[in-house]
């Protein structure tokens, strides 16, 4: 579980749509144990405008192949550069960082809710649960049918529900408006990752229905290892670091 700094080889970059891609990396030594919800700080060497590392959730783990996958949205210079890096180049990672989603009780009913590229940590989370016999329900929200990503992957790990803003696939609307959210009380836990307004809305519903709710925050980070105190969030214990005390928080601990 110790954090480490390690060079990974770029195995493949696969674009899922214009903006999102899967970055697949291979290390040279056995991976440490990685828990769902953890992230890596990636150093982006060949971008002039990217001074600090960039944090990304671990999307999938292949222990046998020493491989990690990230699902990344090309939003600024750093991510755009990552998305055009040539195969076989090396990138440096600091990982595994942060805490993790809690483990559901055996046979507990669990809902994963993700939106946009916030779906990233949910794939490994679902696979992780599968190993201990939990098959989650998964609700993913996208803008439209074209922006849906990796539904095949997710549907292998649980019962998948899709909602799109324009109704071009699945139900129409935002995740909070999906039919299954009406019965949120039926779930023991809901794990949520996506844009902050979405997470806050889901948190409201969870509170109302008394469901345990964990969210994964994306506060801006400088170090990722708890030394700079830049990534804080107000918790019941005062300001805590998203990078070490999070990124996953039970909403009870946040002042949401």
């Amino acid at each position: 579980m110790a954090k480490r700094s390690e060079d990974f080889r770029v195995v493949n970059i696969k674009y899922l749509n214009e903006l999102h891609f899967i970055l697949e990396l291979e290390g040279t030594k056995p991976l440490p144990e990685i828990k769902p919800g953890q992230f890596a700080q990636i150093r982006i060497d060949n971008s002039k405008n990217t001074f600090l590392r960039r944090p990304f959730s671990i999307h999938d783990v292949d222990y046998a192949g020493n491989r990690l996958k990230f699902l990344i949205r090309a939003i600024g210079d750093g991510t755009r550069t990552l998305g055009t890096i040539a195969e076989n180049r090396m990138v440096n990672l600091i990982y595994p960082l942060g805490n993790s989603f809690s483990l559901p009780l055996p046979r507990e009913k669990v809902l994963l809710v993700g939106g946009g590229c916030g779906i990233a940590p949910l794939l490994y989370l679902a696979k992780f649960m599968n190993r201990s016999g939990v098959v989650p329900d998964i609700l993913l929200g996208f803008r439209n049918s074209k922006s849906i990503m990796e539904s095949d992957e997710y549907s292998k790990t649980g019962r998948l529900f899709i909602i799109t803003e324009d109704g071009s696939e699945g139900e129409k609307g935002l995740v909070t408006g999906h039919t299954i959210m009406k019965d949120l009380g039926a779930y023991g836990r809901v794990f949520c990752c996506g844009p902050e307004p979405m997470m806050k809305a889901v948190a409201e519903l969870a509170k109302a229905s008394g469901t345990e709710c964990e969210v994964s925050l994306e506060n801006m980070m400088a170090c990722g290892i708890g030394v700079c105190l830049c990534c804080v969030v107000k918790s019941s214990r005062g300001n805590v670091c998203t990078c070490t005390d999070g990124p996953v928080f039970n909403i009870k601990d946040l002042q949401w």
């Binding site: 110790a2 954090k3 480490r4 700094s5 150093r43 405008n49 990217t50 001074f51 600090l52 590392r53 600091i94 506060n219 801006m220 980070m221 400088a222 170090c223 990722g224 290892i225 708890g226 030394v227 700079c228 105190l229 830049c230 990534c231 804080v232 969030v233 107000k234 005062g238 300001n239």
Partner: protein, 303 residues
Amino acid sequence: MVNLEFKIGSLRFKNPVLTASGTCGYGYELEDFINPDELGGIIVKGTTPEPREGNPYPRMAETPSGMLNSVGLQNKGIEYFEKIIYPRISGFNTNVIVNINGNTIEDYVTLAERIGSLDKIPAVELNISCPNVKKGGMLFGTNPVSAREVIREVRKAYNRVLIVKLSPNVTSIEEFARIAEEEGADSVSLINTLLGMAVDINTRKPALPGFTGGLSGPAVKPVALRMVWQAARAVKIPVIGIGGIMTATDALEFIMAGASAVQVGTAIFIDPESPVKIIAGIKSYLENKGIRNYSDLIGCINS
């Protein structure tokens, strides 16, 4: 074997590479990456008499080759430090130095006294240069009268090694370095961050809620180097160079400009192993050039 030792007064440092306050936690946060005992010293997070929550999030904005921060001295206060943190770090086999901060001269004096009674803390760094607090900090460090006063009072109250951390946001760094020397400081360290700002043109707001923040990283290196050079020529006490040091080359630039030692700050965020890499790099530079004592390099560009 090359000799990397240096001293401030009688305090021995095994090498001239320390980690800078606010960028290395209390040292143990880095243990997965480096062995803190290999460092010349660790300057722990800025400590105040009372616990502080610091400034609101967001506290950071990336800038070209640097970053702005506005952490605002979040820390759990001296009592927590004494009771919880001190026992955890007092076993380090290196110089652990506490960076002390306050709103008033009394605050600084109280802290110096309390730290003075902790056996394993051989020095304090008097931070009169934090740009991210409304009281104290840089207000002391940019005014010659109050700078003198706070250094004088702390000096009276504290008889171990006193390092004064200077602000770069002044017209004459020499003036402040001389004040520190005159008031009996054992060393000055510089620079703390340059006061800077960033704007988000989409929200039309400052990137940091308090408008300004402290600039650090390679962007500030040329300014830091110039100030270290000026300070080192102005005073006889050892100068500790800080500001944008990422590599051994950077550290050597500071040493050649007159620094007796350096602190590594923001570089830790990009490479937590950088402080020990810098030590190794200085060593191999000396070996390659056949220089036995790194102190031969200190200020060599002046001659």
